[in-house]
Assembly symmetry: C2
Homo-oligomer: 161 residues x 2
């Protein structure tokens, strides 16, 4: 259940979570990415209730992460596909999946692997500037132009460089 | 509120969400990363209730993402710091933050920026094999050794290559 809206938080992580930050939404995006695009199939795959799925799909469409596309002869039958924003978000979820493969390995090993350009795709977060893998211990945080001392970021600005 | 456990899902994304997949946990990790390490400071920064924060911190410690460290003269006073797993997860959250900067830009621009090695750090997800940025449209999903037709992945295996 959503208790607090992060919409007004001056934090791009919070604003991302506002779009996809509940339990189910990232898994719905995973499924759509994997070709599970239709409502009944999502229900079957995830074991999510129809009401909850309806609500989450509506949110993902409203936030511009998914879009609907008609299929079959009935114009009001739709399936869900990724938008450009959704496609970029899925790539972040791939990096999150790689973290899970490493630190929360399921019995038997990775449940799913990725390929691209004919080889195993191993997602890691690098810096677009220097190409090096990002290491948290090497990173300094700085206040940006949109930073505010406001709900969700009441104190953090005072700790930034 | 947590309705369904993803613990038994044969999916590394689901298992990651089990560790950090509620509204608040990623923001708690953001704060700890930014040097907001103490309970009362987290309450003040986030505006989260003390009960909820207690519960989330306990979960993050149990899942090996945060650890406690005593501070000051009282041995039972602790602050929270990232584990090795938590540090790697924060890097994924940096990529998620970059997505938010781009697609959910707050008024005024990015609230926070990153620096490393003396220059702006721009997180992006690349392939450790070939060094190229990962693009969802180029990626094929494959069933891995730990894949199962089970709750949370009832159907998805049939859609993989």
């Amino acid at each position: 259940m959503r208790q607090t809206s992060f919409e007004g938080f001056h934090c791009s992580l919070a604003r991302t979570l506002e779009a996809v930050g509940d339990w189910w939404s990232p898994l719905i995006l995973r499924d759509v990415f994997a070709g599970v695009n239709r409502f009944d199939d999502l229900v079957e795959d995830l074991g999510i209730s129809r009401n909850l799925l309806t609500s989450r799909l509506r949110g993902l469409v409203e936030h511009g992460v998914l879009q609907t596309r008609p299929y079959g002869p009935h114009p009001n039958r739709v399936e869900y596909v990724l938008t450009a924003a959704g496609s970029e978000l899925v790539v972040v979820l791939m990096a999150m999946t790689a973290w899970g493969d490493r630190w929360r390995t399921p019995p038997g090993g990775p449940p799913m692997t990725f390929e691209h350009h004919g080889h195993r795709c191993r997602p890691e977060v690098t810096c677009a500037g220097c190409g090096q893998p990002v290491e948290a211990g090497q990173v300094q945080l700085r206040a940006g132009p949109g930073g505010r001392t406001a709900p969700g970021t009441r104190l953090i600005g005072t700790r930034l460089g």
